[in-house]
Symmetry: C2
Subunit: 209 residues, 2 copies
Amino acid sequence: MVGRAIGSKLVALGHEVRMGSRTPDNEKAADWVSSTGAGAAASQGTFADTADFGELVINCTSGGASLQALSAAGAEHLAGKVLVDVANTLDFSQGPPPSLLVTTKESLGEQIQEAFPEARVVKTLNTVNCDVMVDPSRVPGEHDIFVSGNDDAAKATVRELLESFGWGTDRIVDLGDISTARGPELYIVLWLRLFGLFGDSQFNIEVVR
Amino acid sequence: MVGRAIGSKLVALGHEVRMGSRTPDNEKAADWVSSTGAGAAASQGTFADTADFGELVINCTSGGASLQALSAAGAEHLAGKVLVDVANTLDFSQGPPPSLLVTTKESLGEQIQEAFPEARVVKTLNTVNCDVMVDPSRVPGEHDIFVSGNDDAAKATVRELLESFGWGTDRIVDLGDISTARGPELYIVLWLRLFGLFGDSQFNIEVVR
């Protein structure tokens, strides 16, 4: 769902997008490709093929499977690239609501950066529903999105991407290095409770000072 | 600091307030009592004496010591009473910034409710600095405060208290039962990173829909 939303937005913005899966002929990926009507600009492949293809790689896999999926993508295909991590480690085994697989001491973003030291990991967008990720105007008024990462140039690239999605420059809050991803990742527990309360996911938070 | 801020606000609002400590003659509590200039309306005592005295008890102890402090207060003095828990389980041993002693699976609020089943625990106010707790106008504009608890009547009492502190009725978000306290407690990790970024604690979040 998240991959579809972001992939479609990127295609609409004129990017060439490949959606990766465990197999080269994944049905959902094929369905997405044809849904775009974008011709050669939208394609599908294995995780490895897709990571090799992309100048920038976006991890939209389930958080609990992200390290495995990125291993399949291959460290050699991620090296030097901006790796945008939008995943949450939701654990539905005790739910609803789901809890998190990460502890309060380490985020998935950090785990990914540690596992793939040559990738330039930027955590962002995990704090909103995928419709809001690619169209912040779905939530009226001012509200914020967070970025965390060790590489300033990578964060600048991601900032441009977020701006192209509609996020205002002053609504993109750079929290700092990748360890700051713990904040937005743990916030998800509050998000989940608000989601339960409202019954819909078209909301976000604004940091007010 | 939190106890002082809330105690002083309560005295200013006309309540009789006792500040509890491990000993009946704690110097900081004595200093607070004299700072209020409130005569008999402000007093100090042991945790047990204070919990016995109060119609409503507010836990402003350090989160890592709260269960111990409340045990000293005595289950028999908490039974049937509204027990407002504003504590965070900050762990400074690896800091800065501190991490949390709670896991993503259980909040301090739940631990307190479980340890004191006859108390009517309401988690609130832990998401803002103590100056903002008792005077939300310190942060301009609209922003929200959360309440979690199993007892609706207790939450209604706490809502009145929050309104008397200046929180608007529609800014008090009732998340649900005490398990929902995980959300605001884990949000603190994001709060701590924002605090690090801004360099001051006069901020809060607004939930935008």
